[in-house]
Amino acid sequence: MIKAHGLRKLYANGDNTLAALDEVSFEVERGEFIVILGASGSGKTTLLNVISGLEKADRGYINVDGVELQILLEEERTRFRREHVGIVFQKFNLIPELSVFDNIILPSRLVNRDIKEEEVLEIVDELGIREKLFLMPGILSGGEQQRVAIARALYTRPSVILADEPTGNLDSKNGEDVIRLMKTLGERYGQTILLVTHDERIAQVADRVFLMKDGKMSVSDGKEFSLNDNGESIVMKESGKLSAIGGTLS
């Protein structure tokens, strides 16, 4: 579903360069629920941007849903994104001047897909925002806005959903609800979900966890894991062995 190998992305920082992605390689199967953990500036968002085609890696190979992104032009990556990827942002990024309904159907309209009301209603029912369908996003609560953003990401039935700290602006109750909904709906529609978060509890529901630090990635190979004290490594409970970040742990 998603294959990445040797991804590298550098940013200029004054006279220095910063590696947001440093030789990142991984594979994700269809329908997997992946949680990406890491501190701020570790390269999580950059990874999502590269997977969605919002940014292009400086080097490496990435294939999403059979499409090799590195060889696409920006315009082609945009078209790829709207057909294959749904994005849920931390700040929701709803268009405040459009109603909830219009926000949800907007990506579908971009690909000239017919709008089926029953499908919209099904999703908003699942997300519990049916009553809010014709309100403007500005008067919804944060949790409700994030549900709208999820509905927007789900409605186009993308094969991949990327969520960048979707619970970052929500309280714990709303955050849990949102994650539960994403996982449920993702499983129902067979969608692959990559979710960036700081919240270790969310990682507990993931199929696998990717841990990012200074642009490098470590991947858990099972469901049972925990983070060490400083949050820099994952302890795989099945194997009882530590998977090190940057090869410093053993």
Binding site: L54, E83, E97, F101, F134
Partner: protein, 899 residues
């Protein structure tokens, strides 16, 4: 699901979202587009209207619309002229004969082709009743000629007994006293020359008499209105081959003269237009630029949702198109009402009020000059579709370029760069420690304002330049308006000019002794043949209280020897011209030398016997020949017909060059007889004194001022003196209508031009008002647009504890920074430009009077200062009101539906 975007395309949905988000800004933009369209259309139309009115006025003075003519033109020449690419209209005028009264000619009879009359002559007539003569016995007379015939209430179709003779003495048919039918009558403008009035005859009369149209005067209008008469003459002489006896006169066209008197030249008009275009362009461009930051961020988010650059471009263009369409539609509608409904009446009434009587006469004029009579009111059309197109295109261009710039910026940025986009390159460079240190000492709001204003240097420079440009254009308009005021020209003239007329002097001097009318000088001694002696001048001046110096325009009326005449052969039509010698003082002669760029001849001219030959557009295509003539001698003596000249009474002059008095750079020196058919030999005071030993000094005219309070009395006294002198002249056997003296009273000229001057001032004031209006629109829209597009930034500032009052103060500071920078630009570059304008206009118009526009300067300073302070205050008041209104609505009705 009514009211949703279910059936809308994504583009439409986003357009709707963008419009709602930027509603206030888009409304400001829309209003600005409308105001820019309106003001540019009105300014250009008003200036066009003024030019149209000036053109009309010059055509009246010229008596026809033609700018050039070939005298004694034949059919071959006519064919050649008709085939010229730059000839827009060709006409034919046959000076056929004269009408006589008591043996004296009083009317020049002219025959036109019907089309020539309709297109080239009729527009120059002030009033016409009836129609152009069609039959052999039909005639059209001027009201002046009818009055001379004691016909005060003429009627079309009435019969009149007139004595007519052909100019060609060999034709005997249809001559003598005969009955004519009055086919019509007209009022022509009195151009002050005092020549014979015109009468029009039918073309049929020519054929009945066995005559042909040719040779005739071939009239020409060119489409190259931006060329002066000299340039047109050169073009014509290079294209057509003139035979002996044929010559060409090319004058500045009415359009050229109108442009020159209004703006100096076509070049200056182009510069003015370019500056105005730039200013109007930047009003919209800058306004779009202030929203660039938020637009780019918005589009960055769209891109994340899968909107391609192409689609963003389409949406942005669509929005710009919608705003442009509505804005220009509104501006065009209001502008058209003003330009078509209001301006023509104002222009006609104020500007040409003194020229024509409001009598509801037939329509005169054509599309070019846009003149029409409607319901008895004089109207000058100010509407020109091209200006409307220009105004509409200008706003379209500004919107397109600004949208293009935003799109270009968008395409260059990645998603990450776009969503974080700020124009704060300058701010990034600020040293934090230094800034903190500064903030301790200074007002933090002013510091923030500095950072905001300089966030994008490009934007800052663009806005400051635009504000300064608007300000500068108003100042330039004020300088031009004051400088070209006709009152400057009139006030430069002396109170009175009294002189001898060319027609009388020439008639008397060329009349052989013994003939009737030669009785003015019974003494055969040429030295005694002085028309306006020093004694006469003294006697005249003794009657009034003269102030300042009395300027005498004096010289000689010579006859040239054969060799001398060869110097005139290079001048077209020299045989029909009168030659005079005129003295110029050291200052004027210096100006002529400087103009001629002949410093090496200074000695010959100032102290020797050198002379410049001043002519009026006569040297066409003969420049090389003329150059060869320079240095040759010209023998001159007093003009006496029928008397052998004593060789001792001859003097010799040396030809130092030919100077065209019509040339734009020709210095403003007073000429004795400034008409088409006078060639003037200019000599210095030393040369003049030498000539005095051999020839008779003639005072051509005297010019002087009188005490202001004495002016009305002096006018009456002097007019009486002139009248008495003219009566005495008539009594020497001169024909009726020929007057020896003329008098020009400047107060009369001022009174005559009062309507024109007031109209012109009002017009220029209105133009200035529109420019001020455009400048206000520029500043206000920029201030409001800036505040509106930064809504989110202000919300953030609010979140960190900055009060609305403080934000308001910060915006005032920002406005003051722009205002201050514009003021500095105006004081430095702007002032330099004003003085460059002064130099240019002074070189083009001798009467241009530079007056530093201190009033306009202070006015604009106060206006911009007030806008800087008031607009941010007003904007925030209305915004607070709006926010609280929205909040109340939300509280009252939380389930309010949108969409």
């Amino acid at each position: 699901m009514k009211g949703t975007g279910k059936h809308l395309s994504a583009t439409r949905l986003l357009v709707r979202a963008y419009w709602r988000k930027n509603k206030a800004f888009n409304l400001i933009l829309l209003c600005t587009v409308a105001m820019v369209t309106l003001s540019s259309f009105c300014v250009f139309s008003l200036v066009q209207g003024k030019l149209n009115a000036d053109v009309k006025s010059y055509i009246y003075d010229a008596g026809m619309t033609a700018d050039a003519y070939v005298e004694n033109g034949t059919e071959d020449i006519s064919d050649e002229i008709e085939n010229l690419s730059f000839a827009s209209r060709v006409g034919y005028e046959k000076r056929a004969g004269k009408l006589f009264q008591e043996g004296n000619p009083f009317c020049e009879c002219v025959i036109y082709e019907e089309e020539t009359f309709q297109t080239m002559v009729l527009p120059a007539l002030l009033h016409m009743e009836g129609a152009y003569p069609q039959k052999c016995d039909e005639i059209m007379l001027s009201t002046k000629a009818l009055e001379q015939l004691d016909i005060n209430e003429p009627k079309v179709g009435m019969t009149i007994w007139l004595e007519f003779y052909w100019n060609d003495f060999t034709i005997g048919k249809l001559e003598g006293k005969q009955e004519f039918v009055l086919s019509g009558y007209f009022k022509e403008s009195d151009n002050g020359v005092g020549g014979l009035s015109k009468a029009f005859l039918a073309k049929e009369r020519l054929s009945r008499a066995g005559m042909t149209l040719y040779p005739c005067r071939i009239l020409l209008e060119t489409d190259q209105v931006y060329l002066n008469g000299l340039q047109v003459g050169k073009q014509l002489t290079s294209k057509i081959r003139l035979n002996d006896g044929q010559y060409l006169i090319a004058n500045d066209s009415a359009a050229y003269r109108a442009m020159r008197s209004s703006l100096g030249s076509y070049g200056m008009a182009v510069v003015f237009c370019v500056f105005l275009f730039l200013f109007l362009f930047f009003i919209l461009y800058n306004l779009k630029l202030v929203s660039l930051e938020s637009d780019v961020r918005e589009f960055g988010l769209w891109k994340a949702l899968g909107v391609t650059d192409e689609e963003v471009g389409q949406i942005y263009k669509r929005l710009a198109w919608d705003i442009w369409l509505v804005g220009t539609g509104f501006g065009t509608a209001v502008g058209s009402i003003v330009v078509c409904g209001v301006f023509p009446r104002i222009l006609g009434k104020l500007y040409l009020g003194g020229l024509m009587e409001s009598d509801g006469t037939v329509q005169v004029g054509d599309g070019l000059f846009g003149w029409a009579h409607v319901s008895g009111q004089q109207m000058v059309s100010a509407f020109d579709f091209r200006w409307l197109l220009v105004s509409v295109a200008l706003t379209g261009l500004a919107m397109a370029v600004a949208s293009g710039a935003a799109m270009q910026k968008m395409r260059k940025l990645s998603f990450r760069e776009a969503v974080d986009f700020t124009e704060s390159k300058a701010a990034k460079k600020i040293n934090l420690h230094r800034l903190i240190e500064k903030k301790r000492k200074r007002n933090v709001l002013s510091e923030l304002a500095w950072m905001n204003a300089l966030r994008s240097k490009k934007k800052f420079i663009s806005i400051v330049c635009s504000l300064a440009l608007g300000w500068e254009i108003v100042l330039c308009a004020s300088v031009i308006s004051d400088g070209i005021d006709k009152m400057n020209e009139l006030e430069a003239n002396p109170d009175f000019t009294i002189g001898i007329t060319q027609s009388a002097a020439v008639r008397v001097l060329t009349m052989p002794w013994g003939m009737e009318g030669s009785g003015l000088f019974p003494d055969e001694d040429a030295k005694g043949r002085v028309f306006f002696s020093d004694r006469d001048v003294e006697e005249l001046l003794a009657r009034v209280k003269v102030t300042g110096e009395v300027e005498k325009i004096k010289g000689y009326i010579p006859v040239l020897n054969e060799e001398g005449l060869t110097n005139m052969e290079v001048l077209n039509g020299y045989k029909d011209a009168w030659i005079i010698i005129q003295v110029f003082d050291e200052e004027n002669m210096g100006q002529l030398l400087e103009y001629a760029e002949k410093g090496d001849l200074k000695e010959v001219i100032q102290t020797g016997n050198g002379t410049f030959i001043l002519h009026k557009n006569l040297l066409n295509g003969m420049e090389a020949e003329a150059e060869k003539k320079i240095g040759t001698e010209i023998d001159v003596s007093d003009l006496i017909v029928g008397v052998q000249v004593d060789p001792a009474e001859k003097a010799t002059l040396v030809n130092c060059g030919y100077l065209n008095v019509e040339d734009e750079a020709f210095p403003h020196v007073g000429l004795a007889w400034p008409d088409d058919a006078t060639i003037c030999l200019a000599v210095s005071e030393d040369t003049f004194d030498v000539l005095a030993e051999h020839m008779t000094i003639q005072n051509f005219a005297v010019r002087f001022d009188v005490e202001k309070e004495q002016e009305p009395t002096a006018k009456e006294t002097l007019k009486n003196w002139v009248n008495q002198a003219n009566v005495a002249f008539l009594e020497t056997g001169q024909p009726y209508g020929v007057e020896l003296f003329f008098i020009t009273c400047n107060s009369d000229a001022i009174a005559e031009n009062e309507g024109y001057i007031i109209g012109s001032r009002i017009l220029m004031f209105v133009v200035s008002l529109f420019l001020v209006f455009a400048a206000i629109v520029n500043y206000t829209s920029m201030s409001m647009g800036n505040a509106t597009s930064r809504r989110r930034e202000f919300e953030l500032l609010g979140n960190i504890g900055v009060t609305k009052k403080q934000i308001r103060r910060m915006l005032v500071w920002e406005s003051l920074i722009y205002f201050g920078a514009s003021t500095i630009l105006i004081l430095t570059v702007g002032n330099r430009m004003l003085f460059l304008l002064k130099d240019y206009m002074e070189s083009k118009l001798y009467y241009f009077m530079f007056c530093y526009p201190i009033g306009a300067w202070i006015g604009m300073f106060l206006l911009f200062g007030a806008i800087s302070i008031l607009v941010p205050q007003m904007f925030w008041r209305s915004r607070n009101h709006q926010l609280s209104h929205n909040y109340r609505e939300l509280v009252d009705n939380p389930s309010r539906k949108y969409g």
